[in-house]
Subunit: 339 residues, 2 copies
Amino acid sequence: MTEKTSHATVDDVAALAGVSTATVSRCLNAPDRVTAATREKVMTAVRALNYTPNFGAKALASKRTGIIGAVVPTLENAVFAHGVDAFERALAPGKFALLVASSGYEAGREKRQIEALVARGADGLLLVGFDRDPAIYDWLALRKVPYVLAWSSGESHPYAGFDNLSGMAAMVGMVLELGHRNIAMISGITSGNDRARDRLEGARSAMAQAGLSFCGVREVAYGLESAAGAFSALMADRRVTAVICGNDVLAAGALRAAHGMGLRVPEDVTITGFDDIDIAEITWPQLTTVRVPHSRMGEEAARLLQDLIAGRPGESVLLATELVRRGSHAAVAGAGILP
Amino acid sequence: MTEKTSHATVDDVAALAGVSTATVSRCLNAPDRVTAATREKVMTAVRALNYTPNFGAKALASKRTGIIGAVVPTLENAVFAHGVDAFERALAPGKFALLVASSGYEAGREKRQIEALVARGADGLLLVGFDRDPAIYDWLALRKVPYVLAWSSGESHPYAGFDNLSGMAAMVGMVLELGHRNIAMISGITSGNDRARDRLEGARSAMAQAGLSFCGVREVAYGLESAAGAFSALMADRRVTAVICGNDVLAAGALRAAHGMGLRVPEDVTITGFDDIDIAEITWPQLTTVRVPHSRMGEEAARLLQDLIAGRPGESVLLATELVRRGSHAAVAGAGILP
DNA sequence: TTGTACGCGTTATCAA
DNA sequence: TTGATAACGCGTACAA
């Protein structure tokens, strides 16, 4: 009875090919350090035995797994789904694989997920934003795990992101130019979320620069329903002519609520988004929003992280955001200013 | 100069705690097989040394990684993003982590991704649909890697999915009841995609049952633009009063094209979707579509796969789809049938 | 309940 | 270019 269930090992391959295990290993990991003739013999044996290197043994001996971890709030937001998708595709094929975990916007869960990924041997990490317990950065440094932050500018950390603050300030600036003065905002929950905080901050500073402040600000969880609720509450103040939203999902929810209330967009109220995900082009009217190059950002993050893992310097990159003027904005009625 | 860079090992912990390495291992993996007193000593040492088990060594010795792999066409489609998100959340926390790869709807790339995940020591796999090279299933069986198929009923394979065929047949049945007779369809690319094929097949069989066939069928890549193009082409036939779409993205693209052509929906043309993702509620009018319990499916798939990995039997589950009647359908003009 | 000692399969060092 | 051999760090029979 031969052991049919056990897999072939380097020893089996070496024996069949008539070489040493060291040569087999070289053939697989550094083919150019072996003569064509022996390489041929070895590869034939590999195929004959259907040999696959044991992952654990390889990781143990080489001290690297080829696994990169990513922790995002949720894949349900297209922003992260697209970014992670692009990130994964930009990883050197065959060399790295992506381990994904979600935090549900919870700091505690994010910490546990980071630990779990590192425990699984992640060679590097992709994280969202910079706002987290400093102990985590210390721990990562201690463990010598390289990481890249995305969707924000990472302050002192390596990052591939953009400036949420100025992006939103530009949007509010445009709304002000349209003559709006009574403006409200629906923001994401800012606690533990630097993206949401920066967007709110950017909006407020643009208002302040014009000597104004918001009629009302509502912090709500990202979701159509919560945005719709916030919108109705905000519009109770009949002076409001524009509602700035922290992202496109929030804006879509507000838009729907507006329709439900019999309000015309943009004639009665201007609604703006942020992110420029697919839904921005699907709503009616289409959303005026801030374009963020999510896919490009995923690619840059992958490039940067792979540099870091390889011991190369690696430079952070700040991507530009862009105002996208579509149909959900207009000059305030009677303002005499053209859109 | 002490070696500051090397991490603590079981030996270090054992030495500090004054026990053997075996006891340390037991404390971490089977705490109940150790007295509370020694456990306390060991855990104190673990914390003091900031000890984390080496992943490679653990995997090598235990022959399992706690890594589960998933290969989906793309995370850009909300259907997969949501499903994967739910799947990941349903994985036993701390015990399993999710390795995600995308195939871009390419069979060759999917095969390579599967191999890459198995090479990374995946204890189990989540795959989309059943339509793939049989050699892959053989290879998986040879390697003894458990897997679960989702988004389809998996034929002879373990699956957590739903019946695309009957789901679409029900939708077409409803459209026929509304009096429509000149119907066209925008389908996803059916080659290598059993979901798209089943939906097209289900639609055709419902038509056939009424003694009809489609005015036109267009197979296009999933995307707003391609759907918009297909819609205009299909509507060149002025008899068409309803367009069945293979999924919600396609339907959203068709809807946008309809607006662009000055067609009213649903007064001039009925448009239906499939999947019931977020955008179905964001379009105007909201999409009449087929609801698929993506999150529930992800959870069931996780449950099933974990059963399989644990050596338990594990039962496939077929989830029910449901017709969601919203605003994009209406009785054909002059049909005298109420919606 | 705890300790001893070996095996897991690969890579890397150093000679040849 | 190739080969012998020593790590790599943990789990686990088996014995105490």
